[in-house]
Symmetry: C2
Subunit: 385 residues, 2 copies
C-alpha cells in the first residue's frame, strides 16, 4: 500500500459556542485547514471527503458537508464509531488514499454538543452509546460506565484519587497554554478532590467537558510534496472493539478495545517498544482514570502502574511519553467527532515542531480514542518520515 501523509490541519477554538452553528463551525475549520497548507491548495484539488461525527446535528450528514463547504463534486462518507468517530474517519480516509484511488482527501470532525435538543433520558443520544436494551436501562451512562473501570483499577492496583487528579492537573496546565482549548486555566489536586462528586470515583474535575467544536485535516500521499515539504505520515491505524455489556467484560481494570487497536496499529507501524519509540501522544482522557488505564493499555508502563506513571511525571513533557500537551479532552474539550481529528492536528503540529507546548524533536506520535461502552477504540501512529 502506498504511504499517506497529513499535509494540513486547522481547528477552531473549542468551547461552548452558543454563537456559532454547526455549519459555521465546519466552514471555519475547513477554511483554516486550507490556509494551513504550506504551498497552498485549492478546493478542486480535493478528491473525496470523510466526516467523523457522533450526532447528526443539523440533519443529513454528508449532504450538509458537501453543501456548506461548497464541495458538491466529491464523494462524502460519514463515519461513526462512538467517541472514536474522528479517529476512525481518518483511518478510512487513510485506507482510501492508500488504495491509490484518491490522491488528496479531506477529513472533517465536528460536533455540536451544547445547544442541541435533549431527549427523554436527558442528554441527547446517551442511550445510543451503549447497549440500549440491557446496559442503558440500568443506569450505565458515560460516567457510570468509566467509573466502574476506575473503581476496579483502584481495587486491583491501589490507584488513588490523588493520582487521578494529577491527570487533570497536568492536562489543565498544558491546556492553559493552548489557544484552542475550552478551559484555559490551571487547577490543583485540591480543586479536583473538592469538586462535586459525579459518579464515584469521578469528581466534576475528573470529567472532560461537553464542548462544541470542529476540526479539519487534509491527508495525501506522495503528492504531498506539492503541498508541503514537511508532511507527517500515517504509519499505522486501527480501531478495536470489546464486549458491549459490562457484565460480559472479563477484566474491568483495562480496556481490551484499546489493547486490540494498539496491537494492530503498532504492527502496521512496526512499533516494537512504545516507550522508546513514541515521543508524544494525545490520549482520550474523557475521565482522569481513562488516561491512567490507557498508559497501561498502550504499553507506556506495566499493568497497574499507571498511577505511578502520572505521579512520577512520566506522561509530562520530558517524561517517557509526553501525553496530552494540547490539554487533552479534559482541558481542550471533547466534541466527540472532532476529538480524534483535533488530536491528529495536534500531532501534525508536534511532529513539525509547531505545537503550542512543543515536545522538542518529536518524531513519532500517537492518537487514541475510546468510546461507547468502552467497546470502540481507535489508535493511529504518525511519523515524520
Amino acid at each position: 500500500m502506498r504511504r499517506v501523509a497529513v499535509v494540513g490541519a486547522g481547528m477552531i477554538r473549542f468551547g461552548e459556542l452558543f454563537d456559532k452553528g454547526y455549519k459555521d463551525m465546519v466552514q471555519e475549520a475547513y477554511l483554516k485547514c486550507l490556509e494551513s497548507v504550506d504551498k497552498g491548495i485549492v478546493p478542486k484539488e480535493i478528491d473525496a471527503g470523510w466526516l467523523g461525527c457522533y450526532y447528526e446535528t443539523d440533519g443529513q450528514t454528508t449532504g450538509l458537508m458537501a453543501d456548506h463547504l461548497g464541495l458538491l463534486e466529491i464523494p462524502w462518507t460519514r463515519v461513526e464509531n462512538a467517541c472514536a468517530s474522528g479517529g476512525d474517519a481518518i483511518r478510512n480516509a487513510f485506507l482510501a488514499v492508500a488504495s491509490g484511488y484518491y490522491d488528496v482527501v479531506l477529513v472533517v470532525g465536528a460536533e455540536k454538543m451544547r445547544d442541541v435538543p435533549t431527549n427523554m433520558f436527558g442528554w441527547k443520544g446517551t442511550e445510543k452509546s451503549r447497549d440500549f436494551i440491557w446496559d442503558y436501562p440500568i443506569g450505565i451512562t458515560g460516567a457510570a460506565n468509566f467509573a466502574m473501570h476506575a473503581v476496579r483499577h483502584m481495587h486491583e492496583y491501589g490507584t488513588t484519587k490523588e493520582q487521578m487528579a494529577l491527570v487533570a492537573v497536568k492536562n489543565h496546565k498544558y491546556g492553559a497554554k493552548y489557544p484552542y482549548a475550552h478551559f484555559r486555566r490551571e487547577i490543583t489536586v485540591e480543586d479536583v478532590l473538592r469538586s462535586p462528586m459525579v459518579a464515584y470515583p469521578f469528581s466534576l474535575l475528573d470529567c472532560c467537558p461537553q464542548t462544541d467544536g470542529a476540526a479539519v485535516i487534509l491527508a495525501a500521499e506522495e503528492v504531498a510534496k506539492k503541498f508541503t515539504d514537511t508532511p507527517v505520515f500515517i504509519a499505522g491505524a486501527s480501531t478495536g472493539q470489546d464486549r458491549c455489556m459490562h457484565m460480559e467484560k472479563e477484566d474491568m481494570a483495562c480496556f481490551p478495545s484499546t489493547i486490540r487497536a494498539a496491537r494492530r496499529a503498532y504492527k502496521m507501524a512496526c512499533i516494537e517498544n512504545p516507550t522508546k519509540e513514541i515521543d508524544v501522544a494525545e490520549l482520550h482522557d474523557c475521565f482522569t482514570m481513562t488516561e491512567i488505564i490507557t498508559y497501561e493499555d498502550l504499553g507506556f508502563c506495566k499493568r497497574g502502574e499507571g498511577g505511578k506513571f502520572i505521579e512520577e511525571g512520566q506522561s509530562e513533557l520530558g517524561g517517557i511519553v509526553a501525553c496530552n500537551l494540547s490539554g487533552g479532552l479534559k482541558a481542550k474539550g471533547h466534541p466527540i467527532g472532532a476529538t480524534g481529528v483535533a488530536q491528529c492536528a495536534e500531532i501534525f503540529w508536534q511532529l513539525r515542531g509547531e505545537a503550542h507546548v512543543q515536545a522538542e524533536g518529536a518524531e513519532v506520535g500517537l492518537t487514541h480514542n475510546i468510546g461507547g461502552p468502552t467497546a470502540a477504540s481507535c489508535v493511529i501512529i504518525y511519523r515524520v518520515c
Copy 2:
C-alpha cells in the same frame, strides 16, 4: 489499486420482523453469508468489518457487531450515508481491501425499522435525514421531499401517475418470486391508483414499505480464489452529493447526487455506454418516480423519457436494462442500511446465474441508492471478470 471481489452473500427475509431483535437479524444474516461461501470460510479469515446502518438500533454500533457476531478481534467501522449507507459501507470496505492492507472483509447492513421508539416528530429520526434547521420544520419529510421532484418531472416531461404505477407493478411482479421480499404478491395499475394518497403524486402503493431486515456480504481480492471459483468483482464505486435544502436545488426533475455518483463510478469501471454495457441493475425505488428519474440519471434513457422507458418495458427482463428483479425497495422492502448491501447480494447472485428471477447471461451489474434530502447517492458497478 488491486481488484476486489464479492465472494459470498447472505440475507434474511425482509419484513416486519416483530419476533426478531436487531442482534438476531445480524447474526442470522452473517451465518447465512458464511455458509454461502462456495469453498467455505471460517471467521478468523475475516480481517475487518464494516457496518452500514442509519439508526443506532440497540445502541453502540460497532461494539454490538463485534460482540454479537463474535468478531471481537477485528476492527469495525460504521458508515452512515442516509439511504445510501449500505452502498457506502461496501465502498469503504472495497477501498480498504484495494489498499492492500486487508484481504478479506465483512460488510453488514442492518436496520430495525418497525418496532423502534418514535420521537416527538413521529417516525424516529426523520428529522436527521434532511436539513433539520430549515427544511424539516416546514414539513419536508421523506415522501414530501421526493414528491416535489415527482411533481416537477410530471410538469416538465408529462410523466404520468400511470407510468409511475407501472414501476410498482413491475417490482411487485418480481418481488412475488423473491423469497426474501417483504411483499410477495402482484399488484395492478388500478391497485396503485386507487390506494390512499400519501403525498401527491404518491399513493400508498407508490411508496416502499418500512421493513426490518439485515444483509451480509463478504468481499476479498485475488485471495478470492480460495473462497470461490466464481467471484464477482467490484469495478467502480462512488457516492455523490447534492444541496441539502430544496430551495437551493437547481433542477428538481433529476437527482444531481446520482448523476455525480454515476459519473465517477462509470469512469472507474470504464463504462462508456450504460445501456449497452449494463445488463442488470438494482435501483433505489423508494417511491415509484424515484426509479423513473433514476433511469434518466444513470443514462439508461434520455432526460424526460423515463416514463416511456417503463411503459415500453425497457426496465423489464429482456428490456434495455433489467431493473429490480429482486422486487426492489417497493416489494422487497427498504431497511435502510441493509438496502444497499442486499442490492449487492442480488447482483452477486445475478452475475453468478443464481438469481431467483435471472437475467440470463448478465455480466455487468449496477446498484444504486439515494437518500436524505436526495443529497446522498451511491452507485456501484459489478463485473464477472
